[in-house]
Symmetry: C2
Subunit: 228 residues, 2 copies
DNA sequence: GTCTATAACGTGATAGAC
DNA sequence: GTCTATCACGTTATAGAC
């Protein structure tokens, strides 16, 4: 549900809701359309926009190349759809925790660690995908996201600032604190391709390491807060 | 000096030393060649291999397109050169600290924070460049690096393991510890394009935040080590 | 909806004059 | 060494048969 709010934010005109309505009417031909979309997600996440050829996607989906343009008018439109969903997933996970007014700061950190690691374990390519495309493509997508309200003016940041005032946190800048928390959670997924060579760990071993981090990150963050 | 060891590792045949010898003989024509290389570095770091056109590089360098192929036979050869130097810089910084047998673990962490943040402030695009190219291009480059000896079997890791044995560190897995340290240092640079939108900070403000981190990271790491 | 064939275009690279 | 003009190729997208 929340995801759709983000998608609505990002989609020009009302293409998205039209698409959804269309989908629910005729369920027969979801199969191939969904196959293409899943393949596109896989390949785009792995190689980025510029490096993927529509032929790669067609091959991955086991469909004829022309069908890609039949269902999604162009490579760019297909890409936009994948990117919008990636951004929606990424920020939905974050926002639903950061802006909950009923949880404590401590609980929020636990939830970020748990939810994000679970989410990223399913979609490990998303952070590098988003960040590298923002770097290239300019800032089109990111500007569409209400990132300031969702993150900077979040309940999480406010709660941290009161902790600073109460003397329970030594680092006065909430941005530094946020970078620390996100770094602990997200960085391993970004560095995974290098880490797997560094330590010769496969995907299963990596996931195990991440599971261990779910419990440790709140402890580490707590220690950092009162450090100094 | 150390940089050249890495470059030697990475370069097929002896192209690199030939290149260096050639360079020192005739210094006149360094200018345009160097201009192209600097432009290539800028554009490749920003957009990655697939998204950059040789025309972009030529334009950035203010030279004729044909000169690019005259000096560097192909786009790929030019790219390889840029990537090799990026990897060399990245791992040289790391290795020179991690494998110093005369510094304590505590000092090493201070040096990593200081050296890496200084290095990345000059070359902020390198981490995302390296990681995204490894993700796409397969593992060609990274396999050429003696990453295990340099990182996994480093003095740094050994020192951490003895701290664990002495009961001074609660996290038994040195990989987790390494991810924490590198995450604190490197993650902000990877996330910069997103952070600058999140908090509306420009490049100068970002650098200031990183300078503050140089002092804080050792304190944070220390706190994390004895946490739990 | 699905296919084959092909058009239209962008890009890397080179030939050849200067 | 530097330039203009151009080739050769790969890729996106579509026309049109089935």
């Amino acid at each position: 549900m929340f995801k759709y709010i983000f998608i609505y934010y990002l989609c020009p005109r009302n293409e998205f809701s039209d698409k959804m309505a269309k989908k629910e009417l005729k369920e027969k031909d979801i199969s191939t359309e969904e196959k293409i979309k899943e393949a596109a997600k896989l390949v785009f996440h792995k190689k980025g926009y510029a490096a993927t050829r529509t032929r790669d996607i067609a091959e991955e989906a086991n469909i004829n190349l022309a069908l890609l343009n039949y269902y999604f008018r162009s490579k760019e439109k297909l890409f936009t759809m994948i990117m919008v969903e990636a951004l929606a997933g990424f920020f939905q996970q974050l926002s639903s925790v950061l802006n909950n007014t009923e949880t404590s700061l401590e609980t929020k950190i636990e939830l970020i660690a748990q939810n994000y690691i679970d989410f990223l374990t399913k979609e490990p390519g998303i952070p590098l995908f988003i960040l590298s495309e923002i770097r290239n493509n300019a800032t089109f997508f990111i500007e569409k996201i209400p990132i300031q309200e969702v993150v900077l003016h979040s309940e999480f940041i406010k709660q941290y600032q009161t902790e600073v005032q109460k003397g329970n946190a030594t680092e006065p800048n909430p941005i530094q604190f946020l970078m620390n928390v996100l770094g602990l959670v997200v960085f391993p997924f970004i560095a995974q391709p290098m880490l797997s060579h560094l330590a010769k760990i496969d995907s299963a071993q990596f996931n195990q390491l991440m599971q261990q981090r779910k419990k440790q990150i709140p402890i580490w963050v707590k220690a950092m807060m009162s450090a100094g």
